[in-house]
Amino acid sequence: MKIGVIVFPGSNCDRDMFHVLTDVFKVDAQYFWHEKKLPSNLDAIILPGGFSYGDRLRAGVIAAHSPVIADVKRLASRGLPVLGVCNGFQILVEAGLLPGVLLKNTLLSFMCKWTHLIVENNKTPFTNKLKLGQKIPIPIANGEGRYYADEQTLADLKKNNQIVFRYGEEINGSTVCIAGVCNKEGNVVGMMPHPERAVEPQINPIDCKPASLIFESLFSTIGVTH
């Protein structure tokens, strides 16, 4: 049983994600270069953060055309849990696996700071061990993290319970402070903040437990012991 971490040219947080999975939670993970085929026996897929293709043209758009995305789509349609973090979220949106769009932050500059999320949907493979309304201390680090959904999309998101996380404070102009969404089926989740940066007490000065539950939710969903 293993978790696949996809690596694009320009991905940076692949190593961080791999470290958290294998060193902190001691589960089996493997890197997959974006030109490789994904095996069918993966238990979950994670698209990590970074600057794939240097964010050229638009963050995530070029990576969304990578060969591996066809496999990601295929496995996602079978219900495999897929998590996109930061640039990974941007790629999933550009690939059409998640609704909405990520735009430049309102303040027009890159922002690296600690904030907290509020859980809005605890039925996804990544949130089923969290409580509704639970606060998650977590850092953001992005320049294009402003989530935008037009009226119709927003209405659909609300109707289908697709808003997974919201920011606890107005931070970058995101529509109704959306920090993470899922697809209609609920197995593909994208989030702008970095959970992999919030699970170790040495690095997270506030409280690691909530962010850890994001990973624990996944492990219990796919039946991995750690």
Binding site: D16, G54, F110, C112
Partner: protein
């Protein structure tokens, strides 16, 4: 062409004939001040560079320190002053690129960046604001894109940098000792150029850095491409893993000319290359342009013929261009060809070793009597003075800057920006503390004491996290070395640094010298910037303070306000006694703090530097949302007027925060270590209070001050 007459004659004599045009261009690039260090090389030898942790290898661009358990840390510092003054975004960004490539040249992965930024008066000068804003964006965009966290640095403003920019970038690398690339090469090995294509960027750049900034020369600016840099990082580290790299050098100032000559010289080999094999981005580039181009994001790799295919496959995977441009010979010559025509054939050691200069020195006239103070206007409201200082660009919070840097990527940043030093966790359970510090105001008033002060300040900062200093890098930035008065300040600063390094056994593991930092207004103030690395064996000290904690001040406060923020920002006065480091007290105080840390007796430590004890106490209050009541009468040292006690920038002073119940043990340790100290106050309420007897000298609301301190720089830059 920038070869001096005597240099031309020297070259002619060495090669026994007149040089060709290409040879002249190559030598002029390598013999520029920026590449050859001809003014400073002789003198830099006085810095101690050896130590039990220091690892030196041939041709290394970065300093290497052994941190135990078969792990090493590499460090390098560079500047990109001239380019940043012309085009701050590209100049600062490419500065990051250059220093990162030096780190990967050693075979280590870059794990942190630090930036030192200095500009003119941003309160009065919109151009300085423009330079500052864009330099920060340049560093942010580049560092963030390559995924290396910018974890610390400095931001300072002074009139002497009008129309100019000092952009210092340092980087730290980490890796296993057995993966260190030991540069070697044998006859028959291949010379490969890897990375971005060669264009006309930066033509004349390193020579440009050696002329002063009188006219804008936009072709001398380089365009950054952090995406290619990221691919290069992964390519080089993968090539290292697969043992494809026998020797590696990053291309920086002087381009191919310098990289080839320096590599050939340090490895005692000959290199023959064909300019037609260099992958270029513009058609019709002349051989000379190809040799001196400073296009960014390029590396030179020497590989075994048998490993070429593997190297090419790795480059292909990462979509990084690579061309075999030459081969290694054993004739110790640098041979540049265009197909069959020889354009240059020079002994590598002649090219790489410019005739060194013995520049004259003369004590500057301005220093005469500078320690004398003029009569200063009495400041009746010291609360207002402190508030003004905390809102001033030099002392205000730099959150606006580091908030734009991803300082968390890599998940190593244990102590984040905004504290005394950044602390990174290493893979062997140890922690690395790192800080860079400069103080041109002090160095102007007293170059030697000022330089020592910068070194001690960087050490104090890492000590405040519980780390013992293990190595130093220095960046010496001065005006025109041909001016004997300026060269005197350089020599003095160097002497100071060498003295401190020797006394404290902290080896200099790298550094840079940057001369010709001048604007039409004149030279910059002497600006040595010192970076110190410290190692901690256990959990670092993450400073905090809460209601009921006690505040101790270790170290004496003296009447030394020359070059202080108080004198210059409030009184507009340059002069007075520069703070001097007392080596004995420095060692005793430093050791005492480390003992207290080891015994887990402290909740926090914060050093006193710019703005004195008043600013240091205020910072503790604002960061922890707690008030403090301090008694000026308890401050150890000379009996001084209130303002001098508050704002003197004497060295070797530490504020210690501790729980009341640990006080007795702390006092025991401090007395045993023979240090001057006293319990000067306690954390209580929500006001920053300094009292003399029962009289209130300073009384400010923490909340009110914090709001100003946090927003001041951002408001100034964004809204003028």
């Amino acid at each position: 062409m920038s070869l001096e007459k005597q240099e031309y004659e020297y070259l002619e004599k060495k090669i026994g004939r007149k040089p060709t045009k290409t040879e002249l261009n190559i030598v002029a690039a390598e013999w520029s001040e920026h590449c050859s260090y001809k003014s400073s090389k002789k003198h830099l030898k006085t810095l101690p560079m050896k130590g039990p942790r220091v690892i030196s290898e041939k041709g290394f661009d970065s300093g290497v320190l052994d941190v135990g358990d078969d792990y090493i840390v590499t460090v390098h510092i560079e500047s990109h002053n001239h380019p940043s003054a012309v085009e701050p975004y590209g100049g600062a960004a490419t500065g990051v690129g250059g220093v990162i490539r030096d780190i990967i040249s050693a075979g280590t992965r870059p794990i942190a960046i630090l930036d030192g930024l200095r500009f003119g008066n941003i309160e009065k000068d919109p151009h300085a604001r423009w330079l500052f804003k864009n330099a920060v964006t340049g560093i942010a965009d580049y560092g963030n894109c390559i995924g290396v966290p910018t974890v610390g640095g400095e931001v300072e403003f002074d009139d002497c940098y009008s129309n100019y920019a000092l952009v210092d970038v340092a980087s730290i690398g980490f890796g296993k000792k057995d993966r260190l690339i030991k540069n070697t090469a044998q006859k028959g090995d291949l010379v490969v150029l890897l990375g971005g294509s060669t264009g006309r960027d930066g033509i004349g750049g390193s020579q440009f850095a050696s002329d002063s900034l009188e006219s804008e020369n936009r072709s001398a600016v380089q365009i950054p491409d952090p995406f290619i840099e990221k691919l290069i990082i992964e390519t080089v580290l993968e090539a290292r893993n697969q043992k494809c790299i026998k020797a590696v050098k990053d291309l920086g100032g002087g381009g191919l000319s310098c990289a080839i000559s320096e590599t050939a010289d340090s490895l005692s080999i000959g290199i023959e290359l064909d300019v037609d094999s260099v992958h270029t981005r513009e058609p019709g580039m002349s051989p000379d342009e190809i040799m001196i181009s400073e296009s960014q994001e390029r590396m030179l790799i020497i590989t075994d013929k048998a490993k070429l295919k593997t190297l090419q496959d790795i480059c292909k995977k990462f979509h990084v261009q690579c061309s075999v441009i030459g081969k290694v010979k054993d004739n110790k010559m640098m041979h540049v060809k265009k197909k069959k025509n020889t354009l240059a054939l020079l002994p590598a050691n002649v090219v790489a070793n410019a005739p060194l200069l013995d520049r004259p020195t003369k004590k500057p006239a301005y220093l005469k009597g500078i320690q004398n103070e003029k009569k200063l206007k009495t400041q009746s409201d010291l609360s207002l003075v402190l508030l003004k200082l905390l809102s001033s660009p030099n002392l205000a919070s730099k959150r606006w800057v580091y908030g734009q840097y991803d300082h968390e990527v890599g998940i190593r940043t244990v102590i984040k920006p905004g504290y005394d030093a950044a602390v990174l966790r290493l893979d062997n359970g140890k922690f690395l503390a790192v800080k860079i510090d400069g103080n041109p105001k002090h160095c102007y008033v007293d170059p030697r004491q000022g330089a020592i002060g910068c070194f001690e300040e960087a050490c104090r900062n890492v000590v405040c996290t519980g780390a013992k200093p293990i190595g130093m890098v220095d960046h010496l930035q001065f005006g025109n070395p041909e001016d004997p008065e300026i060269f005197w300040t350089f020599i003095e600063a160097l002497k100071g640094l060498a003295d401190y390094a020797k006394h404290f056994d902290i080896p200099c593991v790298g550094g840079k010298v940057s001369f010709y930092n001048e604007t039409p207004k004149g030279p910059i103030k002497p600006t040595p910037v010192i970076g110190v690395l410290g190692l901690i064996d256990k959990k670092p000290l993450h400073t905090s303070a809460s209601q009921g904690d006690v505040l101790i001040l270790v170290g004496k406060t003296k009447n030394e306000l020359g070059g202080s923020e108080y004198f210059e920002y409030i009184h507009d006065f340059v002069g007075g006694e520069c703070p001097k480091v007392d080596f004995k007290a420095s060692k005793e105080n430093m050791d005492a703090v480390l003992v207290l840390f080891k015994k887990n007796l402290l909740k926090g430590a914060h050093d006193c530097s710019k703005g004195g004890v008043a600013v240091a106490v205020s910072e503790l209050c604002m960061q922890n949302n707690v008030g403090c009541k301090v008694s000026l009468d308890k401050i150890p040292g000379e009996k001084l007027s209130h303002d001098r006690l508050l704002f003197s920038e004497s060295h070797s002073r530490y504020l210690l925060v501790a729980q009341k119940q640990k006080l007795a043990q702390i006092k025991k340790v401090l007395s045993q270590n023979n240090v001057s100290y006293d319990v000067i106050g306690s954390f209580e309420g929500d006001q920053i209070q300094f009292k003399a007897g029962s009289a209130s000298v300073v009384d400010l609301s923490v909340d009110k001050v914090q709001k100003r301190w946090v927003r001041s720089l951002e408001d100034l830059v964004l809204h003028g």
